[in-house]
Amino acid sequence: MLRRLGTSLVTLFGITLVSFGLGVLVPLRPETANLSQQALSNPEAVAAFRAKFGLDLPIWEQYLRYLGGLFQGDLGISQQTGQPIATDLAKYAPATLELVLWATVLSVLIGVSLGIVAAYARNRWPDHLARVVSLIGVSLPTYWLALIGSTFFFRQLGWLPGSGRLDAASTPPPRVTGFMTIDTLLAGDVTAWTSAVAHLILPATILALSNLGMVLRFTRSAVLDGLNTDAVKAARVKGLPGRRVLIRYAVRSASSPIITVTALSFGFLLAATVYVEQIFAWGGLGQYAYRSATNLDVTAITGISVVIAVIFLAVNFIADLLASAFDPRIRLQ
Amino acid sequence: MTDRSPLAEPPTEPLIEVADAVVSYRVKGKGRFVAVHGVDLEVHPGEIVGIVGESGCGKSSLARALVGINKLSGGSIRFKGEPVTPLPIRRRPARLVPLQMVFQDPYASLNPRRRITQQLEEVWNSAARARGERRTAEERLADITDVLERVGLDPALRTRYPHALSGGQRQRIAIAKALLAKPNVIVADEPISALDASSQKHVGDLLRRLVDDLQIGMVIISHDLAVVATIADRTAVMRAGVFVEQGPTERVWTAPEHPYTRELLGAVPALVGREG
């Protein structure tokens, strides 16, 4: 556990180093992205800008300052917005997490069930169907799916809202968790809650679809492996009925891969939000990341990378804990 | 296997001298687990030493330590008077190459993706290089053919992949591989227990014959007392990491000193005793 924590810290440290390194290697000056054209030709304005963000210091000193701040939870100031990055992230991360969480739940629920059915009905039509679904699923570009989905359900049919997290007309609920679907409930605002859910449906479903194929394949092959074990053979030798063998024995064997694929999905979906948030104007980490990257806001990129890595490591850690809870052989001390 | 005199003391210098060898493993969260608790052993040219003992008593750990795969945590092992150093990441020192090992699993001891010839040539090349000899293709072919004949295999099998051979054939190839290094000592860890009944006997006989012909030393490890009894000159009985008894095979078989040896003998099924 301690070791794990240690390596995670090393990883995070490395991420800050790499991000910073990117900033150094890149032959660009942040002020061009963040100052007006007129100000750029004014050395004083440029100097003021560089001084404000510590860009005039030697790079190692900038880095040490950054690390010093990091230990106090200070991720620096965005060159782009002048806002503390921690504030920005606290605002955007919940939006993305809400989206990704729902998408993960959706894709894992559907993908795992289909995967189990496919494995059980191996080489019969449900399996073939699942194979087609999963192959197409892994072959669909998320952004294209999002475009098509948005065109169809929002523009053509008008069934679902196409941008943002809430109707512009409804007042956002006071921020507690940052999850619209929860905060609106906490505020007791049913209209806003309905709106929040309606806004979630399209992006979450599209994200889920883009991930479904992977989950399905993975589950199928894990359950098949489970079915191929001697333990399953032994269970059948005992005369247990097929369905019970499947659920109790084969799926049980597959539990740890299923947990892992859930964690993987989370990571995958986190990345896919870059596209989906862009199209649905979601206002989360994905959009923020894209903007920061194109504006060369190195401090923000570092902050985003750190936060995403933390989420990623945390999710994997939870996954491992869960897996070990399921599997007596790998229980952690 | 009839022409050995169980009483003849080997007059030569020992090839292998083991003094108070200790092998231990690091176990996660539990410190070290000592698998071999300090054993002494000598192996002379032309001699087969059998080591028997139940599963998990430390036989393989000792065998691997003998050739340097496992590091010793205490005591010493000498080969031809010089210490056996652990197998390094780099190339193994040339002087240790004549100290060879044959593994239990005939499936695992051959690379499934290479033809038999390629694998034999590989070993021959490295061993010749270790001996500092000039390497010519003719010599190599001659040596390989010779060795294959020695282990009783049709040289035509050379071009096959391992999966196209039976278990017994594979184990013979594994032995041939060891022989190509022109060994002085072969440590064989359960060389026959994975084989089916008919191959077991053949490979056992083969090992005995090799020792007699080439005057090499051999350590054979087995959990089966009867197997060892039929080919070994001396037998050591191992239990929980120590030798409880060690002596000429006939003595151990006919006049066991340790209760554990007796227990093992008691479990030898009757059929073994029925002379056919």
Partner: protein, 293 residues
């Protein structure tokens, strides 16, 4: 369960009863075949495109008709020709990403697994790092910094993809390093390099190949994704991702978004099907070899 297991799970053996002649089932033959076919398609494309994909051939934004099968774009270029021609960007570069990632990853995995110790520790920490570093962000940053171009996108993708291979290879090597055939060779004085090349590399090549074939589709998607964000292919080069992103503003001209989208799906699907088939056919064979039949 670690990610390594996951990767080996993805590449887990899946028995197939289809009978394919043995020589056809060697990894290298299948891979070479698939890649060759892809190249062939790419080479043949210019012959198949009815128009120069870069030339204005008709009125802008014309709907599909007999000449312009999939309509024209805002510059009056033939959408069908462009969609076809885009394969020449996507496929070779997708292959390139995978090849680079697989090469780097395999080399690092072999070294880390074989030598172990601090070398392993350092290499794997780096792999962890890259793994945890959001790939798309890395790619965006690289592309934004070095300027968008297909080459930079390929570099960015390869940089963030190799750890998958390194881990898979390392885990196989870790298991094989202690295996008896490796040990017995090393006892005979076979050196470490030789051991890696002769015993370990062939053992991992099958898995690497399976992973790689399954990855080509994702690589093409990734590349198109970067282009979609304006960080990949540079106009006027036809590229599916940038064609889709260009089409965002022209949704009444549905053909502009639909054609490249379907093209991606088709090609990626094809590679995925090939990858699947290879996995089905290679893995059992490796298995037989590994355990005897």
């Amino acid at each position: 369960m670690t990610r390594t297991d996951v990767i080996s799970m993805i590449a887990a053996p899946e028995r197939s009863r289809r009978r394919v002649p043995a020589w056809l089932r060697t990894p290298s033959v299948i891979a070479a075949g698939a890649v060759l076919l892809a190249w062939l398609a790419v080479i043949l494309i210019p012959a198949l495109t009815p128009f120069d994909p870069l030339a204005t051939v008709g009125p802008a934004l014309a709907p599909p008709d007999a000449t312009a099968l999939l309509g024209t774009d805002a510059l009056g270029r033939d959408n069908f020709s462009r969609t076809l021609a885009a394969a020449r960007t996507s496929i070779p570069n997708g292959l390139m990403i995978v090849a680079a990632a697989a090469l780097i990853g395999t080399a690092i995995g072999l070294i880390a697994g074989f030598f172990g110790g601090w070398i392993d520790e350092i290499l794997m920490r780096v792999a962890d790092l890259v793994f945890a570093f959001p790939g798309i962000i890395l790619a965006m940053a690289i592309a934004a910094a070095l300027g968008p171009s297909v080459q930079n996108a390929v570099i960015a993708a390869a940089i963030s993809w190799w750890p998958a291979y390194a881990r898979a290879v390392r885990s196989i090597v870790l298991a094989l390093r202690e295996s008896e055939f490796v040990l017995s060779n090393r006892l005979s004085g076979v050196g470490p390099l030789r051991s890696i090349i002769v015993d370990l590399l062939p053992a991992v090549s099958g898995s690497v190949l399976v992973l790689a074939m399954l990855d080509i589709g994702s690589a093409i998607l990734f590349l198109a994704g970067l282009s979609f964000l304006g960080l990949g292919a540079v106009p006027p080069t036809p590229e599916w991702g940038s064609m889709i992103s260009g089409a965002v503003q022209y949704f009444d001209q549905w053909w502009l978004a639909v054609a490249p989208g379907l093209a991606i799906v088709t090609v990626v699907l094809a590679f995925n099907i090939i990858g699947d088939a290879i996995r089905d056919n290679i893995e059992p064979r490796l298995n037989e070899n590994g355990s005897g039949s």
